[in-house]
């Protein structure tokens, strides 16, 4: 139903700190919460669903199909958006309406996560909270690096995005999943193509992954362990034969927000349960 838009026409005051912020992109939304600045949010997009409280905010739609009037309805004084948000016409209209539309890179690397936190903190004028969060993140990444250094033979991990109708859609290089696998001290079983692709049974058997990684989900796209061992190609893989199947929450695993280091450590532990893990 239509959310009654109680548009309170605020008198234009010179911007001290933006307190009507729309966030577009799940990772960015997480960062805003991690900085303790969620009280300034007035809207989010469909990709933002963590922390759960973010779901109470008005949803401005899919990040690449933002409605210009929908955004203006929320009377924002800042829009923080992931790279690739749009369409361009909407961005141009925001500029015409004098609403800053800040685009922040989406690169799935540790450094980029830190950079994102710094950028968001700067735009929300919450540099102190930002510095603290960056420190925590760096410590987490350092701990992670220490753990991955212990890996002598990297495991080959296959990330299965979906398995609709038995057809396996897996991650190649240049994907968030691939970056996470590397961060966790393993290698992606498929690096001969970029992006996500539907794989033939032969390609899966040939890649012979040691570990199968999936999102925790239900419904048509999910695969139970029984379905994996019963699948003509997946069943042949060392991963299926040794029961090496890891399931993780999708947003946790692929959000590239403040929990990334944590998620990479969890993934690392799941892939290498036998390594000695000191501390957390």
């Amino acid at each position: 139903m239509i959310r009654a838009a109680l548009v309170t026409l605020m008198l234009a005051t010179p911007a001290v700190a933006q307190d009507r912020v729309v966030v577009v992109g799940g990772g960015l939304a997480e960062i805003v919460y991690a900085l303790g600045q969620e009280h300034r949010l007035v809207g989010r997009d469909t990709t933002a669903s963590f922390p759960p409280a973010v779901n109470d905010l008005p949803d401005v739609g899919y990040m690449r199909a933002l409605s210009p009037e929908g955004l203006l309805q929320l009377d924002p004084d800042l829009i923080l958006a992931s790279e690739g948000s749009g369409p361009l016409e909407t961005i141009q209209i925001m500029q015409a309406a004098d609403v800053p539309f800040v685009q922040i890179t989406e690169t799935p690397t540790m450094d980029a996560v830190v950079e994102r936190v710094e950028k968001v903190a700067q735009h929300l004028q919450a540099q102190d909270a930002g510095a603290q969060l960056v420190e925590t993140l760096r410590a987490d990444f350092a701990a992670l690096a220490e753990q991955t250094a212990q890996v002598s033979t990297p495991q080959r991990v296959m990330f299965v995005l979906s398995a609709q109708g038995g057809r396996i859609n897996a991650a190649g290089r240049d994907t968030g999943a691939s970056a996470m696998i590397q961060m966790a001290g393993a290698v992606n079983a498929f690096d001969d193509f970029a992006g996500y692709r539907l794989l033939t049974d032969e390609a899966i058997a040939a890649a012979a992954p040691d570990v199968i990684l999936m999102m925790d989900r239900d419904g048509d796209h999910a695969l139970s362990n029984g379905q994996i061992t019963g699948h003509p190609a997946l069943g042949l893989t060392p991963a299926a034969q040794n029961g090496q199947v890891i399931r993780m929450d999708g947003i946790y695993l692929l959000g590239f927000g403040p929990r990334t280091a944590q998620a990479a450590r969890d993934l690392h532990k799941a892939i290498y349960p036998d390594l000695t893990h000191q501390g957390g």
Partner: protein
């Protein structure tokens, strides 16, 4: 109720004996047109006045009347968002409905639709090409084409497919409508296959873009896009009434039309050009919007008979009004987000179309 004229062999019933019937029909057509004109004006005003942001027309008019300056936000909402969107909606709706009516007249088939001559598939293929492979173009081209790459490619795709069809189905200056229909189906299948290949190599984000494009939306309406597409659509809409008499003649068959002194081949050329231009431009600015081209002419034939002199202008009015109405629904239902308008037209158009079909078969009596 009026019988539909789509029986190419013979008129469905003997010609009406009395002039009174024709007079009646003209009168009813005029009344319908007046009502439609009022409807379009009302929907246009409403469309300017409603929207997610709550900027209301009375307030704005009151402000203007009392000499106050509008706030920047109100100005942007009205003149950069709603007004170009209103004009785009009117033109696209009118173009789709008129194209449908012209196609149905040309093919003497109530199921004809610009999609059937491959214009839709060609335009769709152009758009998909631009979405999936656009990034591979040299930067210089991208800098010039920029955000208009997809609409431009859609338009070119629509034109190219029309041209190919026309070449295939024209022999010694005579266009065979039957060949064109079949070639259109073949071309549609081919475009569909190529689109399928592109879908296969597209990444996730491109797939989502494709999906959204295919569902159609007026959300990207802007003055720049309108300036590019409007002239073509306006030209096509101006050309349409010229076709009316010829299409009426064609309803009796090509030979009969020739005997009536109608330059059949020239009219066919013009009809095909009109449809390709109007559909290509409409698809280019708004993506894939279904049902308007098929439902609007049908409804009007039921209401006012098959005479194209009334049918074409009425289709333009009803198409424009309905699309604006659908757009308003799309803008408001899940605000601040938006529904793709193709979903709205399909949800409204599908059942209406079924009802028309049932009615024609005499199953539903209303």
């Amino acid at each position: 109720m009026v019988a539909l004229p789509f029986n190419s062999r013979r008129p469905r019933r003997p010609a009406p004996p009395a002039m009174a019937v024709a007079g009646d029909r003209a009168l009813r057509a005029r009344a319908t047109m007046t009502a439609l004109a009022v409807f379009v004006v009302a929907v246009s005003i409403l469309s300017l006045g409603v929207g997610a942001s709550g900027v209301s027309l009375p307030d704005v008019l009151w402000q203007l009347a009392s000499g106050e300056a509008l706030s920047l936000r109100d100005r942007v909402v009205l003149f950069d968002i709603r007004l170009p969107r209103l004009l785009t909606g009117l033109l696209v709706g009118a173009s789709l409905a008129v194209s449908g009516a012209v196609m149905q007249g040309l093919f003497r088939n109530p199921l004809a639709d610009p999609g059937i001559v491959g214009v839709g598939a060609g335009a769709g293929l152009g758009a998909v090409l631009a979405i999936v492979l656009g990034a591979l173009l040299p930067p210089a081209v991208l800098a010039v084409a920029g955000m208009h790459l997809v609409p431009l490619a859609a338009f070119l795709g629509g034109w190219a497919s029309t041209l190919i069809l026309y070449r295939v189905s024209t022999r010694r200056g005579r266009t065979s409508v039957a060949t064109m229909l079949l070639a259109g189906i073949a071309l549609g299948a081919l475009a569909g296959a190529l689109t399928g290949i592109l879908v296969y190599i597209a990444d996730d984000q491109q797939l989502r873009d494709l999906t959204f494009w295919g569902l159609g939306s007026l959300a990207g309406a802007s003055w720049a896009k309108l300036a590019a597409a409007a002239p073509i659509m306006v030209l096509a809409l101006i050309a349409a009434p010229v076709l009316a008499r010829a299409l009426n003649g064609l309803a009796l068959g090509e030979a009969a039309a020739s005997h009536m002194g109608i330059p059949v081949q020239r009219m066919k050329n013009m009809a095909i050009l009109t449809v390709a231009g109007a559909t290509g431009a409409a698809v280019a600015v708004s993506g894939g919007i279904g049902f308007i081209g098929i439902v609007v002419p049908h409804l009007l034939r039921l209401a006012m008979g098959p005479d194209h002199r009334y049918l074409l202008p009425a289709a333009a009015l009803l198409g424009a009004g309905l699309l604006l109405l659908a757009d308003m629904i799309a803008r408001l239902v899940i605000a601040p987000a938006e529904l793709p308008i193709g979903i709205v037209t399909a949800v409204l158009g599908g059942p209406v179309f079924l009802w028309i079909l049932l009615r024609r078969r005499g199953i539903v009596d209303m």
